[in-house]
């Protein structure tokens, strides 16, 4: 006797096909997910206790990065400005601005301003700003068009893949020493050979740059 309706044949075939297809799709999807901003926080803008605008201070007033991030050339940590640094100017201008109240309060109470971290690497990754800066990797290379950001956002995915892309082939991203802190720097036409030359002058050896021990220890 007949157990199944004619449609069953198609269904059965589809089921078998699905068994084969599912794993492939699952891996593909999860990979896309891991790369997506949902996981990497790329392009995520975060709220800050004080709505500090890099656009205003960098593009508008033309402050140098190092004015606030003082240790970027000598330490792993680029450095966050102490409240004092803000007050050097803001004890003179915008002294009563409402949005600066937390800053004045911080100085008065002696309590730090709690900024929200924007760029976050895992604890087991040892990133050193000073060396990158010394080797001609500019601020905006990783931090993006800071000069255009009202509130700070994470420009790069900060995945290991992304780090490796540059560690394997830094040349396209290298700048002459004087341009490292230039927020408006853009790669010249001849970056191809210029970068290669810079890599040589900076003594950058790429094979060593992909060693695990460079970033993990």
């Amino acid at each position: 006797m007949q157990l199944f309706r004619p449609g069953a044949n198609t269904i059965a075939t589809l089921v078998i096909a699905a068994i084969g297809a599912t794993p492939v799709l699952a891996v593909g999807l999860s990979y896309q997910l891991m790369r997506s901003p949902y996981v990497t926080d790329q392009h995520v803008t975060r709220n800050q206790p004080v709505p500090f605008s890099h656009e205003h201070h960098v593009s508008g007033l033309g402050l140098d990065c190092r004015y606030c991030h003082t240790s970027v050339e000598k330490a792993r940590f680029a450095g966050m400005p102490p409240t004092e640094t803000c007050m050097t100017c803001h004890s003179q201008i915008w002294t009563n601005a409402q949005m600066l109240a937390p800053v004045r309060e911080s100085l008065a109470k002696g309590q730090p301003i709690a900024w929200t971290r924007v760029h976050r690497l895992p604890d087991y990754v040892y990133f050193d700003h000073s060396v990158h800066v010394a080797k001609g990797v500019g601020c905006t290379t990783c931090h993006g068009e800071v000069g255009q950001m009202r509130l700070m956002r994470q420009a790069a995915p900060l995945t290991m893949q992304w780090c490796l892309d540059c560690h394997r082939n830094p040349a396209p991203h290298l700048r002459p020493a004087e341009a490292v802190f230039d927020p408006n720097w853009h790669a010249p036409k001849d970056q191809a050979e210029a970068g290669a030359k810079l890599a040589a002058t900076y003594h950058i050896h790429t094979d060593h740059l992909t060693d695990c021990t460079i970033c993990h220890r």
């Binding site: 157990l3 044949n9 059965a12 990979y31 995945t159 290991m160 893949q161 490796l164």
Partner: protein, 455 residues
């Protein structure tokens, strides 16, 4: 239990000891119990295995929560029961496919009665074996890092590691075994579909039977496929356990770095596997009343194979000792003497007794024919083979190149858990299999019956 096939002494035929063994009788004997059920005995057995399954689950949860420190492993003896279990189970898992594939290729008719449940045994054993390396990890959640997949770390597995070979060997072997087993199952599923009294069962079996009708084309194609798979299966099985052997042989520790390991692991696998088949065959024969189909001839044949394997095992051990001494490396010689007089010497002697001495009983026909005796021998062999595996791990790691760090293993409750509980899980799965799927291949039996009748 329906006694359709009445066994008689002396047996009517070589491999079937029943006079009236036509298609109907065989079909009834094997298929009908699945519809009528096995009664209380089966339920009791299933109930008995439940606590073990629960025990295993609890152990695994506690292991993941607390970490592998709950085992007796230490800074020097970093491996323990999990690894021994892995090798032991994969060994048993190898036998099923090996048996049915090799016997198929060598045209051994009697395979018909045992290949189905031997292959089922393979599936369950390999599944349990595959569990072991994962729970043995310090950070099991990252086990998937052994697989090559696109990831944002831009990293790949380290292909030179024997563990990666293991990973692929097990995955390939498990999937292969499932296909091999399922393909030969399709016609029987069709029989069940056409014989099942209730519509529900008919639908389920029917779906899995894929609409098999037993046409000449289907049969010839199935045979081609099945025999070719068998031809591929034999090298696969050998390679799988050789790779397990490489886990140790590819190292440079005394007692591990030995070129004999891969072949000797394969033989060991077949050895313990056949021993397990003997036990299961006896169980099924008694449980399903298949005395007519699984005859004492079968046990006799398997006993001979056990005897042969035990001799090869002894030869392998002897080779180990000889090479250890002949190589002249100080550490290797120290290792050999440590095996005999060291911390685990009693276990080592027990191993030699179980694997080399006890099976010699099988030289005597009465021992091969007496089922209880044969079962005892088989169990002894399985114990001996587990001891062999754990001692391979313990001896070398306890007595390496640095005497300052010679230590010994401290067996904990959780080591016992992971040694015993999986046996319960295995029994549980096997009982389910017996209840849902014909434990003996019906179409093979029909064919055999006709050939026997003709002969």
């Amino acid at each position: 239990m329906s006694q359709v096939l009445v066994p008689q002494q002396p047996p009517a035929h070589r491999w079937i000891s029943a006079e009236r063994a036509d298609d109907v009788a065989i079909t009834q004997a094997i298929a009908d119990p699945l519809f009528t059920g096995f009664g209380k005995r089966w339920w009791l057995a299933l109930l008995a295995t439940m606590p073990f399954v629960l025990w295993l689950l609890v152990s695994i949860v506690w292991l993941f929560y607390r970490g592998i420190g709950i085992w007796g492993v230490n800074s020097t003896i970093v491996w323990g029961v999990a690894i021994a279990n892995y090798v032991w189970w994969i060994g048993i898992g190898n036998a099923g496919t090996l048996i049915s594939a090799m016997l198929l290729l060598t045209r051994q008719k009697w395979r018909a009665s045992i290949n189905r449940f031997a292959e089922a045994m393979t599936l369950f054993a390999v599944a349990i074996a595959g569990l072991m390396p994962i729970i043995h990890l310090g950070r099991p959640i990252y086990a998937y890092w052994l697989a090559p997949y696109p990831n944002t770390m831009a990293l790949w597995p380290q292909w030179r590691s024997a563990l990666v070979w293991d990973f692929w060997a097990i995955v390939s072997y498990l999937l292969f075994s499932i296909l091999f087993w399922y393909v030969s199952l399709i016609p029987d599923l069709a029989t069940l579909r056409d014989r099942a009294p209730r519509r529900g069962a008919r639908l389920v079996y029917g779906a899995f039977a894929l609409g098999w009708r037993g046409s000449a084309r289907e049969w010839s194609r199935l045979r081609t496929l099945h025999s070719t798979m068998a031809a591929l299966g034999v090298p696969l099985v050998c390679s799988v356990h050789s790779i397990v052997g490489l886990d140790f042989a590819a190292s440079l520790m005394p007692g591990w770095q030995e070129s004999i390991f891969p072949p000797y692991f394969v033989v060991g696998a077949m050895y313990s596997g056949f021993a397990m088949v003997v036990v299961l065959a006896a169980a099924i024969r008694w449980g399903l009343g298949l005395q007519a189909i699984i005859t004492s001839r079968h046990f006799d044949a398997m006993a001979r194979i056990l005897l042969m394997a035990s001799i090869v095992m002894f030869y392998s051990y002897a080779t180990e000792w000889f090479m250890g001494w002949y190589g002249g490396e100080h550490a290797d010689r120290a290792m050999v003497s440590f095996e005999f007089i060291g911390t685990y010497a009693p276990l080592y002697w027990a191993l030699l007794t179980c694997n080399c001495l006890v099976p010699q009983l099988l030289w005597w026909p009465f021992a091969r024919r007496s089922l209880p005796l044969l079962i005892l021998v088989a169990i002894a062999i399985n114990i001996g083979m587990w001891l062999e595996r754990i001692l391979i791990v313990w001896n070398t790691l306890s007595h390496g190149y640095m005497p300052a760090l010679w230590r010994s293993f401290h067996f904990t409750f959780w080591d016992w858990s992971f040694l015993i509980a999986p046996l319960g899980l295995f029994a549980f799965l096997f009982l389910l299999f017996m209840r849902l799927i014909p434990s003996v291949s019906m179409f093979d039996m029909r064919e055999l019956a006709h050939e026997e009748a003709a002969a």
